[in-house]
């Protein structure tokens, strides 16, 4: 039977020849991930399940990312509970503060998420890993505790929404703009319970960093997963990371059959996509930046698992050039992982941001979830490169949060208001997106 890439991966993991959308199947998990917010409850649930040991200590990743470095005593205690669990069960992949970063950027760097796998994470943005051609989805802590105990998870095989990209992205257009325009079209629950498969020749123009942004926000359309079928860019990235990390694990590459059943197909002509901005307080309220009402900005946040990879920081630095941050704006830059931080440092980007008047911090989720390192106050306006602008997400419920790509965010930081990056500089930006 013709199958989608998602059906093929789930069939492999369920030990079946084929599965089809709508079926409930039990799948073997290749990697189970939790962070400092979700791991303590997952560990508690696991302990209550009454099994003597975790199913595979080599296939669990625990990442300190959300409230790190610990912001108060309560979060220090959460970290302790995660650390104790990691020690007690001798978990191989435990990433301490200063040795990791935000999980969704870290695990692909570490070559722990690979094409063809089933990855289950106790964090909703676990859909990010699908950019590598794996099935990957987010669950809650109790579900993850059950994976710790059994190595398996029940899943309803999702229907697939195929998104076909044609053409090539124009100036300033990044993965963020593609996904914001898709969510703007289909709505916040437009892909509910579905797999979003991003295909078409247009995808070939996207770097791995931009693809990871594309799948990162599948959940903002209600999707179960996002996936980009592996191509030369994917395989080149994965093999390079495996070599650097010394992890020559096998993986299997799947593709959808041409005549597979897609529940919905939408087309996106990249030539028509402009830099986008999602207005307060839903990701689906996205419109081209060129049409948005100019508005004074109090804070700009360049960070999160959506847009704090090296490409993102380079793009922001490209817009900034030798300009300064507007005196009325606070800019917070948080590279997503220790590796990104170091590379940005080597390239002089951190110094450039700091010299322009930005606060530059250690890897953490921080401001993205209104935890620390840049919480927004009552009535403030913030442009963020993260993925959610829900009421209260980044701090006070009366704050107004806009979502945009790093070029648009930096343009706001320089201008002091929401503007198109063209108003800041006309230096060509596409070169930034293709470099290593």
């Amino acid at each position: 039977m013709p199958s989608t890439i998602t059906e093929k991966i789930l069939a492999r993991a369920a030990g079946r020849d084929e599965v089809s959308a709508g079926e409930i199947v039990t799948c073997k998990v290749d990697l189970a991930m939790a962070n400092d917010v979700t791991a303590p409850s997952a560990a508690d649930a696991f302990r209550r399940m009454g099994v003597p040991d975790v199913w595979d200590k080599h296939k669990i990743a625990l990442v300190a990312s959300h409230f790190v470095p610990a912001k108060d005593i309560a979060t220090a205690k959460l970290m302790t509970r995660m650390r104790q669990f990691a020690n007690e069960y001798d978990i191989e992949h435990f990433f301490e503060v200063g040795r990791g970063g935000i999980e969704h950027i870290l695990l692909p760097e570490e070559a722990l998420t690979l094409p063809g796998q089933v990855v289950i994470g106790a964090d909703s943005h676990s859909c990010t890993y699908g950019a590598l051609g794996c099935f990957s989805t987010g669950v809650g802590s109790t579900d993850l505790g059950a994976v710790f105990a059994t190595g398996e998870i029940w899943l309803k095989v999702p229907e697939t929404m195929k998104i076909v990209y044609t053409g090539a992205p124009g100036e300033w257009v990044m993965g963020k703009d593609l996904i914001l325009s898709v969510i703007g079209r289909i709505g916040d629950d437009g892909a509910s319970y579905m797999a979003m498969e991003h295909t078409g020749e247009g995808i070939g123009h996207l770097s791995m960093d931009s693809r990871l942004t594309l799948t990162n926000m599948a959940i903002e359309a209600g999707a179960k997963s996002g996936i980009v079928p592996p191509d030369a860019t994917t395989l080149d990235y994965v093999r390079t990371r495996q070599e650097i990390m010394g992890r020559p694990n096998d993986f299997e590459v799947f593709h959808s059959d041409e005549d597979a059943h897609f529940d919905k197909v939408i087309e996106v002509d990249l030539n028509t996509v402009e830099p986008m901005i999602a207005q307060p307080s839903l990701p689906s309220l996205s419109i081209p930046v060129s049409t948005v009402e100019r508005r004074k900005v109090d804070q700009v946040f360049l960070g999160s698992c959506t847009n704090a990879r090296i490409e993102d920081l380079r793009m922001a630095a490209h817009v900034l050039g030798d300009r300064s941050i507007a005196p009325t704006v606070r800019l917070t830059v948080i590279p997503a992982t220790q590796r990104v931080w170091k590379q940005a440092n080597e390239e002089g980007l951190l110094d450039l941001f700091a010299s322009a008047g930005a606060s530059v911090s250690t890897p953490t989720c921080g401001a993205c979830l209104g935890a620390h390192m840049g919480v927004v106050g009552p009535g403030e306006v913030c442009v963020s490169t993260s993925n959610r602008n829900y009421v209260g997400r980044m701090g006070d419920p009366t704050a107004q949060v806009y979502l945009a790509n790093p070029a648009v965010a930096m343009a706001a930081a320089v201008a002091g208001e929401i503007v198109h990056p063209d108003e800041i500089t006309s230096a060509p930006a596409q070169a930034v997106l293709t470099g290593g």
Binding site: S41, A45, M49, F67, K224, G370
Partner: protein, 160 residues
């Protein structure tokens, strides 16, 4: 029977329990802030047995299991919504918060109506108007987890 607290579409887990309270996993502490950024008076007004009634995509956003735990901890007997975001749906089943998917019932319930639910049967009764609705049937596999009392008990039962 309980009173209906009626809300709209896309009630996300950030308003159900804001991240600033995720520094604990304790049910009582979380419950003290349930729905705070959506309805600051909810916690003062809610009584044991009351029902949350909402539109589509309830529980969207973050995977935090603290969300169903906070709602349940506040004494809510169950949630009736037009549809659920999938992670919230799983989390509610796993942690034993009764949920029913029934757009017809949602359309016919006003804030403050008296409502009775039977989550296992998927039945919602608006006692104020006398109307009765039948929600979406849960798949058998999921029903097994509900009947076991949640996922922890379900896994335990498989291992003994």
């Amino acid at each position: 029977m309980g009173k209906a607290f009626r809300y709209g579409d896309n009630v996300d887990t950030d308003v159900i329990i804001p991240a600033r309270y995720l520094t604990t996993t304790d049910e009582k502490e979380l419950a003290a802030h349930a729905l705070e950024d959506l309805d600051p008076t909810f916690v003062e007004r809610v009584k044991p047995g009351d029902i949350v009634v909402a539109g589509k995509n309830f529980g969207c956003g973050s995977s935090r299991e603290h969300a169903p735990v906070a709602i349940k901890g506040a004494g809510v007997a169950g949630v009736v919504a037009s549809s659920y975001a999938r992670i919230f749906f799983r989390n509610a089943i796993n942690t034993g918060l009764p949920i029913i998917e029934c757009p017809e019932a949602v359309a016919a319930i006003s804030d403050g109506d008296e409502v009775t639910i039977d989550a296992e049967a998927g039945v919602v009764r608006n006692e104020t108007t006398g109307e009765e609705f039948k929600g979406e049937q849960l798949p058998d596999f999921v029903m097994d987890i509900v009947k076991a009392g949640g996922l922890v008990e379900w896994v335990r039962s498989k291992n003994t």
